[in-house]
Symmetry: C2
Subunit: 214 residues, 2 copies
């Protein structure tokens, strides 16, 4: 009897191999041939799931979005308030190989999304989901008195998500920005700066920050 | 006697026509043929300056960088401190046609810069120039007592530049973010929030902000 193949599972495995290649060698190295070499599946098997390279890369984008959505759900189920907010915002900051792959595949499609409508709408839905998770964590932090009540959670979420993505993009283009990201998390810096304004603030003081001027 | 052609000036004019097309119809519409149709110069004349479409787009990127550098120099010569900082950061927020073109051409090359070394270094130099202008304005604002002295100018400049670019990119993908950008400048919001922490702060109070939660 032939072995039953779980097609969803295999599709996911192919995309994970793709993301490994993207993290190690970049988008330009991510081809059907390379995934075949690396995974042991033939290009024919991979072609059963993805019709061409662009389709394979799109599979990688969707897998990246799924990984980030799972990350955010896990964070929301195990942390709350400011701790959750930090994890949600740092989920795709490229400080390790896994997150580097997510950044590269997302930013590759951001450029395409500016000219292709369907893709743009798909990216919009991912950004919206990200902002919603951040908004929820901000509301919790406000309810706990850890963030000022005068902040509009939705707008602050949009700005922090913009900050996280902007710095991630710049860090892939500019080693100076990457070095700063590695030294201290700007995300945490700004969240704690906001937190220090909360009237009930009794948490840590402002971090003895490298942001302090010399 | 043949008319003397100022080649630098013509090259600039060709790039400006390209940027007009990019602002109105996007990168995908920006071709040598379209620039020829729009400008009245033949494709042969344009080919004298740009060998192919990619080269023409690269010309558009360099013209965009030049426009932004001129903008920043003008700002620094006419404004100072917080007023200068706001203008420097908002120079490429896509709230009008001119700045929409700058964003589109920059973000198109950001994606390419992640895989091509020479281009990456070129983009790095543009980002560095932008941060330097912002750093200078932050130092001025601190000297005037308008921003807290405990901020590290270079790091805060990097973060604000990241915020500006991140929100610009998201606004091109997500109409919700664009709507928020149009309603109120997040750049000004965060700068004024920082300013309100300055001990000598005697400027405007926090804006009666739409950021206040309902």
């Amino acid at each position: 009897m032939p072995r039953v193949v779980d097609h969803n599972e295999r599709r996911k495995q192919i995309c994970d191999v793709l993301l490994d290649i993207v993290s190690e060698a970049g988008i330009s190295a991510a081809t059907i041939r390379e995934v075949a070499d690396r995974s042991g599946w033939s290009t024919g098997v991979i072609g059963h799931y993805f019709t061409n390279r662009q389709d394979l890369l799109l599979g990688g984008l969707r897998r990246a979005a799924e990984i980030l959505a799972e990350h955010n759900t896990r964070v929301i189920n195990t942390l709350e308030g400011i701790a959750a907010l930090e994890q949600i915002l740092e989920g795709s900051i490229p400080l390790d190989k896994r997150r580097l792959a997510l950044c590269r595949i997302f930013f590759f499609f951001y450029a395409e999304g500016m000219t292709e409508k369907d893709l743009r709408q798909e990216l919009e839905s991912y950004l919206l989901g990200w902002r919603k998770s951040a908004t929820r964590a901000i509301r919790q932090a406000q309810a706990q008195g850890d963030l000022p009540a005068d902040l509009d959670p939705k707008r602050v979420a949009a700005d922090l998500v913009g900050l996280a993505d902007g710095l991630s993009i710049h860090s892939l283009l500019d080693p100076g920005v990457m070095m700063q990201l590695r030294e201290q998390s700007p995300i945490r810096y700004w969240i704690r700066r906001l937190a220090s304004e909360a009237p009930d603030h009794k948490g840590e003081p402002m971090p003895p920050s490298r942001y302090a001027s010399a």
